[in-house]
Each structure stands twice: as C-alpha cells, then as structure tokens.
C-alpha cells in the first residue's frame, strides 16, 4: 500500500488517477477544498486532514474519513512509500 498526499485541487486533478485500488489518498492543505466541490463519498480510499478542514472553516464531510496528524503518521508507517503530489 502507498499513501498519496495531495495538497491542492490542481494536484488532485492532474494526479488523482495515479493511486491504485489498494492505495490510500490523503487530502491536506488547500486540497481539502475539494470536499466542497466534489462528491468523494464513493471513493473509500480518501482521507481528509481534520485540522486543515477546521483551519479553513469547512465542515467534516459526511461519510468521508477525516483524520488527525497522529492518524497521518500511523498511515505513513503502514505505507511502503508516501508520495506527495503538489502540482
């Protein structure tokens, strides 16, 4: 399993197709705005960083797993590689 972190909507648009079915996707920083534009509930690989939602005043979307920094650390431990997509 690999963890793919996206930090902007652009990065997700360009590279969102890269994670495989068994990988996980983490939306951080400005990528959390995607939760207001797109229905992500069908994609069970998606995690959203709770602190970055809160910082931007966004509600935690229903039926999507929101995680803390500690959860993020735990995901990195479980992942073979952590890939960062920024643009």
């Amino acid at each position: 399993m690999m963890l793919h972190t996206f930090n902007s909507s652009d990065a997700y648009r360009l590279h969102g197709h890269r994670p495989s079915a068994t990988d996980l996707i983490l939306l951080i920083e400005d990528a959390v705005f995607i939760t207001t534009q797109q229905d992500l509930t069908q994609d069970h690989r998606i995690r959203v960083l709770r602190e970055d939602l809160a910082q931007r005043g966004l509600p935690e979307p229903r039926a999507i797993t929101c995680i803390t920094y500690t959860d993020w650390v735990r995901l990195t431990v479980e992942s073979q590689h952590c890939l960062t997509w920024t643009r």
Binding site: L14, H81, W85
Partner: protein
C-alpha cells in the same frame, strides 16, 4: 535495484524548483543507484528550451539531462499519460525518456527502496 526514485513534477520556467529538483537527483546519483521519473507538468522540462545565451535570465539546466549517462543514471522515465496530456510526442526533446504506463509506474515505485517527490 533502484535505491532512490526521484519524481519530478515541476514545470520549468517560472520557478527555480525544477532546476533544484534536478540538482537533488544528481546529488542522489553520487551516493546511490537512482531513477528519475518525469510526471505531469514536470515532463515539460524535457522540451528543448530556446534561450538567448546572452540573456542568462534562466539557466539551461536541461542540458544536464544529456549528461545523465555520464553520472551512471540510465533509468530515466516519463509518464505516458502526461506525455499525451501535454502533447509531447511530437516535440523536440532534450532526451527521450522511457515512457511508462500507470501500471509500469506502480511497479517501478514498488521496486524502489525510497521515493523522493519534488
């Protein structure tokens, strides 16, 4: 075996990031067996720039791509999807990377010891 796989995703031009990321890959090649993967807008680095020599506004760092073999770097890959997306198939490129499908990329990532994203 690839010890370090460098993913380069910054376009050339506006920022120095693409150039610095390539420097990091070169540094990696001095210490380990590396591979380079151009993805997304990073593939645009492969287009031969047309820079006025006297201008020096930006360094033609892509010239270094041609020297990769001298650094013993032979695994230079490009994302096939990105090549299609940016219409790079008919462009004059500094070097021609080995194009990889999404499945190929997954396999290269799995086979790498560490991955560094830029």
């Amino acid at each position: 075996m690839t010890e370090l796989l460098f993913i380069l995703s910054h376009p050339p031009g506006a920022s120095v990031y693409a150039q610095e990321a390539f420097d990091a890959a070169l540094a990696g090649s001095a210490f380990s067996n590396i591979a380079i993967l151009f993805v997304g807008a990073g593939c645009l680095q492969l287009i031969q720039p047309k820079l006025a020599v006297e201008a020096h506004e930006r360094k033609d760092f892509q010239r270094g791509f041609k020297a990769l073999a001298d650094y013993d770097v032979h695994d230079v890959y490009g994302c096939e999807d990105s090549f299609k997306q940016f219409g790079l198939h008919n462009q004059a490129l500094v070097i021609q990377p080995t194009l990889l499908t999404r499945v190929d990329i997954s396999a290269r990532l799995k086979g790498a010891q560490r991955v560094l994203c830029f």
